[in-house]
């Protein structure tokens, strides 16, 4: 039973962060129909930003989020203004491969500057601490704090999108670009804003994740795929969809835990022989494939 | 003998009925016009017949066989060809290659497809354009390309969707002659959607009028032109009331 509850709790907590990871991707896709392959690399940069700021200033990594957000915003805006803007004129394949080129550049810049070794946080208020909340569930303090801060950030972006004038303009651009332009919304600037917000949210997520996940220059790809799956499940362009989908994908990532639970509680021997932990991410790809076949617009999708 | 029979065709998009209980018959060798105000459901009707999407209910019989719900490529193989209102070719096929695609339907051999395509290009007066992209051509020539492409499949029935839209009077004249030639020389039965009245009134043997998805009239062009129902559909209730004397209804 412990394993089951532990896995569920862990899945939900990580799911909150994954929702935040995917938020930027879904906003960008919603506004301009482009899939950003470098999304995971943005996250990697967020992780390094959080880690290095914390190490340099001696502050707790959780207080470094504003720095990460600022870095992400600037990065997003620069990428859009300096590069993505030109991609949008071309065919889809150019967009896909172009952002792949961006991913190569960012990944290898990180390799050049930070080296290829694993880096992890070893200090901080919460690092290594945990609570026992009964029923054998041990909550890691960093994961809990991360989940809470993710929800807060997610909520802040949701409010920005729905309650402020500029956010509404962004939503309008996503819904109907032509119409928005006729209404006097500067759609070009909205694109840039979407990349700024997208960059900021994902680097915040990175700075949160680095609290319990070590960082290398190669960490991006898996998060790109996770983000694609979350966005597919939540519906391309849907912000609330991303939230629920994040939770579901968090639970999918805990499939090895559930597997162990079944194996132990029903004493099924052959299940013990399957190296399920090696398939931790495989289920995410499978999930993407299956979701797209059931509902090509995503399960909570609205965008045509 | 009937080439195409449409029985009680209904096509609904959500709650909106784009076609509501439409029935008609096209005889072999006929030249039939389908008219109606914008949004009357003409193109939807074409799409259902051509298999672009299945009808919600109703039956379509083509050449003696029930073809309801067959996919478009299957309809094309059975001898039904169509043109498109807006020809959006963003790609890199030239005019000649476009026509060739249709010609490949009945043969695998490149040489026989090629010689057939050359013949059609010649007939439609497109020979000089054949190495150009469709998007580079003037509108009139683009419309001819869509017809030529469709003809490559050796159709028994050709559905023409607004082939005269956006043309000037002399081009309309030429298009009209082109359609007559296809109809007479190739023996193709033709059904056309058209807004250009001088063309459709002149050329059609018979007319069908749709309004709000329903068939409101059917008959000879000269009768249709005086049908008060049709005039009402096009010009509104008030016009009919005020000009009752002139119309003679």
């Amino acid at each position: 039973m412990d394993i089951l509850f532990g896995s569920i709790v862990s899945g939900v907590l990580i799911g909150m962060v994954l929702a935040l990871v995917a938020l930027g991707l879904t906003i960008i896709f919603g506004v301009m129909d482009i899939v950003n392959f470098a999304h995971g690399e943005f996250l990697m940069i967020g992780m390094y930003t959080g880690l290095l700021t914390a190490q340099a200033t001696g502050m707790d990594p959780l207080f470094c989020l504003p720095v990460a957000a600022a870095v992400g915003f600037v990065l997003g805006v620069l990428c859009y203004g300096g590069f993505v803007k030109y991609l949008l004129r071309g065919p889809m394949i150019a967009q896909l491969l172009g952002t792949f080129g961006l991913m190569l550049v960012l990944r290898n810049l990180a390799l050049l500057f930070f080296g290829s070794e694993d880096r992890a946080l070893h200090h901080g208020l919460l690092v290594g601490k945990s609570f026992d909340i009964g029923m054998g569930i041990i909550l890691s303090a960093t994961k809990l704090a991360t989940a809470v801060l993710s929800i807060l950030s997610f909520g802040a972006v949701w409010l920005l999108m729905n309650r402020t004038k500029i956010g509404k303009a962004l939503t309008a651009t996503a819904l109907n670009r032509q119409g928005a332009r006729y209404m006097g919304i500067p759609t070009e600037r909205m694109n840039m804003l979407a990349w700024g917000i997208g960059g900021a949210t994902v680097t915040i997520a990175g700075a949160l994740i680095v609290n319990f996940w070590s960082v290398t220059p190669y960490v991006g790809l898996i998060f790109t795929m996770i983000a694609f799956t979350v966005v597919a499940l939540g519906g391309f362009g849907s912000v609330p969809g991303a939230f629920f989908a994040g939770l579901v994908v968090g639970l999918i990532m805990e499939i090895p835990g559930f597997w162990d639970f079944f194996q132990l509680s029903f004493a099924i021997d052959w299940m013990a022989d399957v190296p399920m932990i090696s398939f931790k991410y495989t289920w995410i790809y499978v999930a993407y494939f299956v979701i797209m076949l059931i509902s090509p617009r995503g399960l909570f999708g609205w965008k045509q | 003998m009937a080439l195409l029979e449409v029985h009680h065709l209904i096509k609904a998009f959500g709650g909106l009925k784009a076609n509501d209980d439409v029935s008609f018959v096209i005889e072999k060798g006929e030249l039939l016009g389908l008219i109606g105000p914008n949004g009357a459901g003409k193109t939807t009707c074409f799409n259902c017949i051509a298999g672009m999407f299945p009808p919600t209910s109703g039956r379509i019989v083509f050449d003696g066989q029930d073809v309801t719900g067959l996919p478009a490529h299957e309809m094309a193989r059975r001898g039904l060809a169509r043109t498109f209102q807006v020809y959006t070719a963003a790609g890199d096929l030239t005019v000649g290659e476009n026509v060739l695609v249709g010609c490949f339907m009945h043969t695998r051999s490149r040489s026989s497809a090629k010689s057939k395509a050359d013949g059609i290009l010649e007939q439609m007066g497109l020979k000089e354009f054949r190495h150009q992209l469709v998007s580079e051509l003037p509108v009139a020539a683009q419309k001819r390309v869509t017809m030529a492409t469709a003809l490559g499949t050796d159709p028994k029935l050709l559905l023409l969707d607004e082939v005269a839209a956006g043309l000037n009077p002399s081009e309309i004249e030429a298009t009209m002659a082109g359609i007559r030639r296809i109809h007479a020389e190739l023996g193709v039965t033709v059904m056309l959607i058209e807004h250009v009245m001088e063309l459709v009134m002149n050329i059609s043997h018979r007319l069908i009028v749709l309004d709000y998805g329903r068939k409101i009239a059917e008959g000879l062009p000269k009768d249709i032109a005086r049908d008060p129902q049709v005039i009402k559909a096009y010009l509104g209730e008030r016009y009919v009331r005020e000009h009752a004397a002139e119309i003679g209804g």
Partner: protein
């Protein structure tokens, strides 16, 4: 007969193109006679391998416009089939290669049927997902060596072994892959003028129009996907005996899939010469950048940074690739 005649018929290209192509072929044929380093030889073989991958991708991706970013899974199937056949049952290359192609085609039908219900970005990401699933499976599958992969021990054989393709000198591999290259080029020349080729280009133009012209769009895509797959799988088999050591990471990773698509796109997707030009520019660039900047200067990753920047520039400013630039210049000159 007509098919062979069409494959050999290059008459629709301008004379200058054919002249250049012939000169390049003569150069490629004579290359091993010139003094060269082992590194240059390896780079040339990589060039052939990737131009063939690119040709395969070009059928579905270039002519058909379906952005497939999962071709590496078929490199893997081909390479692993040949490797497993050789190591376990001593089945020679010329038998295991068609078996691998057959397996690849079967797999391509199984996933192609659902895949092609998707369009655009959704399709592209789904191809990545399928490829990664297969890679994850191979990484734990003990029968194929799991993450450590499989290796041929050359001393167990007696090179030159033409049956199993085990050689000491690279020049044998060079001429074998050169022959594959010629066959591939002729096949592509036939393909682009075949019924399927035209149907595919019409699908890329406008699916609705293609359907109305009697093209079974879904089936045409699946068929072409299988052709692309066969190309990649056959070359994957060759790759296995050539490098003699394969693991999931270097045969089936996303980077390989993307590299395959890049060859065609940077050279010019949807043109016969595109993948060849792409591989001809990119492969030497990649290996020499790595050699000079990465290994020699000790700047880890800088080769890939430059490489990435080139990709970014081309995709932003000339998405039709190098061939697109050539055609643009020609068009301007004609007008």
């Amino acid at each position: 007969m007509e098919a062979i005649r069409n494959a050999l018929d290059f008459s629709d290209f301008p004379k200058t193109d054919l002249g250049v192509a012939l000169a390049v072929l003569v150069f490629l044929f004579c290359f091993p006679f010139f003094p060269h380093s082992a590194f240059a030889m390896a780079t040339m073989i990589q060039f052939f391998i990737f131009s063939l991958y690119g040709m395969g991708w070009n059928t579905i991706g270039g002519y058909g416009g379906q952005v497939d970013l999962g071709k590496a899974q078929y490199v893997g199937i081909g390479a692993y089939t040949t490797m497993v056949c050789l190591l376990r049952w001593d089945i020679p290359f010329w038998v295991s290669m068609p078996i691998g192609a057959g397996l690849s085609i079967c797999w391509s039908f199984i996933i192609g049927y659902p895949l092609f219900k998707l369009k655009g970005h959704y399709f592209a990401i789904a191809t990545i997902a399928t490829s990664l699933v297969l890679k994850d499976l191979f990484e734990v599958w003990k029968f194929v060596g799991a993450a450590r992969g499989l290796g041929i021990l050359p001393y167990k054989y007696h090179p030159p072994d033409f049956w199993r393709l085990i050689f000491k000198e690279d020049v044998y591999y060079y001429y074998i892959i050169f022959a594959f290259f010629i066959v591939g080029l002729l096949y592509m020349n036939w393909f682009r003028k075949s019924r399927l080729g035209y149907q595919l280009r019409s699908i890329k133009d406008n699916e609705e129009v293609a359907r109305s012209l009697g093209v079974n769009v879904h089936w045409a895509k699946i068929k072409t996907y299988a052709i692309a797959t066969a190309f990649v799988s056959v070359v994957g088999s060759f790759h296995a005996v050539y490098v003699k050591n394969i693991e999931p990471e270097d045969t089936m990773s996303l980077d390989i899939s993307i590299l395959i698509a890049l060859m065609a796109m940077l050279g010019g997707a949807g043109s016969l010469w595109g993948p060849v030009i792409g591989a001809g520019v990119l492969i030497p660039l990649k290996s020499y950048l790595k050699e000079w900047l990465g290994a020699a200067a000790g700047l880890l990753g800088i080769d890939l940074i430059i490489y990435g920047i080139i990709i970014m520039i081309i995709s932003a400013f000339e998405p039709r690739g190098l061939w697109g630039i050539i055609e643009k210049i020609r068009r301007r000159r004609r007008i």
